[in-house]
């Protein structure tokens, strides 16, 4: 509001109005696709067009009663949870180490640790396909979990590392001087303080695995197909409204993840606010 009152000249007001109009159009562009696909999942007809002939839950029924879709949901959950746990362990240890490590090599190591995010998915997928096939890791859960962990860990390193930056290392020293063993100090002092960072890292890691499809395309056998993989073939072959039901399920998961992350951020800001 205060900004609007500071706009004195007509040209400034026009520029501000233009910003609002353009931004509104961009917001519509961003949100329309997600909103447009949702009602179709409640359609009683089998075409993905508006107006809806009637409302029904038949596509959800279809989704829940299809062994293929249910299996893919189960796979996404198994692979997502397992790779999140693994990336939490590896990423947290690495972030703790990197926070203490002083070396000229550090930027290089950090770049290497973060590189799975930047390297195009196809390159990682092709490399893994060649590398994992001879040792029997293609067409296996383990192979997919390992691959997704590699993609997800950078996010854990980033979020936990960011939390550690604001962490007062004197607290760890204080714990040690009071006779706490390193493990005890970690459990009782460090862990509670970096927990919000760990939680958002876990959310990012899970979202990364849950949304990943390129590596699954290359490496998964019919048994390991995940939800996005099943959607990929669904879109390729023929878009049945069951896909829109799957899309709503996926979006609901995203909204839950996003809401949790936002709640964590708010809590963190509140805590920071109260400490100063």
């Amino acid at each position: 509001m205060s900004d609007n009152s500071s706009l004195r000249t007509p040209s400034q007001r026009i520029a501000w109005s233009a910003t609002i109009v353009i931004s509104t159009l961009v917001f519509i562009f961003l949100i329309t696709p997600i909103l447009a696909i949702m009602p179709l999942s409640f359609s009683s007809g089998s075409y993905l067009t508006y107006p809806l002939p009637g409302l029904s839950l038949r596509w959800y029924d279809d989704f829940i009663n299809s062994p293929r879709w249910m299996n893919s949901l189960k796979n996404s959950m198994i692979i997502g949870v397992a790779s999140t746990l693994l990336s939490m362990v590896l990423g947290t240890l690495a972030a703790l180490g990197l926070a203490q490590w002083k070396s000229r090599l550090k930027p290089l190591v950090l770049a290497f640790v973060l590189s799975p995010v930047v390297v195009p998915g196809v390159i990682t997928a092709v490399g893994l396909y060649f590398f994992f096939a001879p040792i029997g890791l293609t067409g296996s859960y383990l192979g997919l979990i390992l691959a997704h962990t590699a993609l997800a860990t950078p996010f854990v390193v980033i979020t936990v590392g960011a939390t550690l930056q604001s962490f007062d290392t004197n607290l760890a020293r204080a714990a040690a001087s009071l006779g706490a063993s390193p493990l005890y100090a970690f459990r009782r002092v460090i862990l509670p303080l970096i927990l919000p960072g760990l939680a958002s890292g876990a959310l990012f890691a899970f979202a990364t695995s849950f949304d990943e499809v390129v590596i699954v395309l290359f490496m998964a056998g019919p048994e390991q197909r995940t939800l996005p993989r099943e959607m990929f073939s669904g879109i390729r072959e023929n878009i049945s409204p069951t896909i829109t039901a799957a899309a709503v399920v996926l979006t609901t998961v995203s909204v839950i993840l996003l809401a949790t992350l936002e709640a964590l951020r708010r809590r963190n800001e509140r805590l920071k606010g109260s400490s100063t």
Binding site: L98, V119, G127, T251
Partner: protein
């Protein structure tokens, strides 16, 4: 400060204390490294190793050498000027007979056919028609009779080029280049020279998507950075929700919107703007729209971070010094957003370069980007050498751009505005 303390300390304990401190610090560093080590080893196995393996495949060329070992050995002393001598022909006949028994002819045939179209036929027909080892001294004549291609120098140059163990052949092919019979690097035959076009297409689509993202993202980032926190947090949901929504959901949604009976065409028809449905999808337009939608948050978030950091006092100072609003914006505000613009553009461009899923689902045959061909050669045609070479070029481009990006965001958070 430690030094000041130490010089004040008793001389007899000074040296041991210094040493002890240094030793303690060293132990700390070793412990720190030990914490990072598991991740480094893990990434070596699941990421760096596989990619190094892929790069090796781009130059690996041992197939022909394994199938035709004697021929390759005999060709080593061939000067490449005239046809090779009788001894080479005899070695080839021996190799072909052995490979026919072992059933490995097809491996060499496939590799040689990549280098010289029709080589598969030359090799298989020879293998089929060669009854037994030719009499000493008649090998050249026998093979030449079975297939006249053995009387051509180019056939032999192809084998010699493919003798391995490493080759630049795939990397040259990825750049539409090849070696001629004299070993000079020349442009590839027009029907095989398709990759420069594909790289150019990938580059153009990525550039267009980056430009669209900047044009659409700048006003939004500006609005979000200027509004009071309460309202901008609320509007941020419009950016973060698509950011967190599955790529597959968003791509599917665009198909629903843009198809010939989709929401957009129906609306335009209802408004009386069009009579027949427009073709909005399975073409370049659809690819650009869907990719811009997917990548827009990656532009808005870094822009927002950089704009949020600009103190409003600068603009007020400019205004109080008499600068017209436009001048103040162009001379004071815009330059300060340049790091954000650079970071956002590079991030979007890097991500766009490697895109596979979206173009594969909403693009036509002429809109497929380089990743599509890498995937195609890996899983469909099993031309792994070429797939790896194309991958190597894409990886190189990505790494170079990522280095520039790293320089740009140096000092800023590594997250580059991924969150907040």
């Amino acid at each position: 400060m430690t030094d000041a303390l130490l010089t004040g300390a008793d001389a007899s304990t000074e040296v041991p204390l210094k040493r002890r401190l240094r030793r303690a610090e060293r132990t700390r560093q070793v412990k720190a490294l030990a914490l990072v080590a598991p991740l480094l080893l893990f990434l070596l196995f699941t990421f760096a190793g596989p990619i190094a393996g892929m790069l090796w495949r781009a130059v690996d060329d041992r197939e022909v050498r394994q199938v035709l070992p004697q021929t390759i050995a005999a060709l080593a002393s061939w000067d490449g000027k005239d046809l090779p001598d009788e001894q080479v022909y005899a070695a080839l006949a021996g190799d072909i007979l052995a490979a026919r028994t072992a059933g490995t002819i097809a491996i060499a045939a496939k590799r040689l056919n990549y280098a010289l179209n029709g080589f598969r036929t030359i090799l298989t027909s020879t293998a089929r028609n060669l009854k037994a080892a030719p009499e000493p001294g008649t090998a050249r004549e026998t093979l030449g009779k079975i297939n006249p291609a053995w009387r051509e120098r180019a056939t032999w140059t192809t084998i010699k080029d493919a003798s391995g163990p490493v080759t630049g052949f795939n990397l040259l092919s990825a750049l539409d280049l090849t070696r001629n019979a004299d070993g000079a690097i020349v442009a590839a035959a027009p029907d095989q020279a398709i990759y420069r076009d594909i790289f150019a297409r990938t580059f153009l689509i990525s550039l267009a998507v980056t430009a669209f993202c900047l044009i659409l993202g700048f006003p939004v980032a500006y609005l979000l950075a200027t509004l009071p926190p309460g309202r901008s947090n609320l509007l941020m949901i419009f950016v973060l929700l698509p950011f967190w929504t599955s790529l597959l959901v968003r791509t599917c949604a665009w198909i629903v919107l843009l198809q010939s009976k989709g929401v957009v065409n129906d609306s335009l028809h209802w408004l009386g703007i069009i009579d027949a449905p427009l073709r909005l999808i399975y073409n370049r337009f659809g690819v650009c729209v869907a990719m811009t939608h997917v990548l827009l948050p990656f532009m808005i978030l870094p822009l927002y971070s950089s704009m949020k950091a600009i103190s409003p006092a600068y603009m007020r100072a400019a205004a109080s010094l008499g600068a017209p609003p436009l001048t103040a914006f162009l001379r004071i505000y815009l330059p300060q957003t340049l790091p954000g613009i650079g970071a956002g553009c590079l991030l979007v461009f890097i991500l766009a370069l490697g895109y596979y899923i979206t173009p594969a689902l909403v693009g036509g045959a002429a809109d497929q980007m380089i990743s599509y061909f890498i995937a195609l050669y890996t899983t469909e045609t099993a031309n792994w050498g070429l797939a790896s070479a194309l991958g190597a070029v894409l990886l190189l481009a990505t790494i170079l751009l990522a280095l520039v990006y790293g320089k740009l965001v140096q000092g800023q958070q590594v997250t580059g505005g991924m969150k907040n």
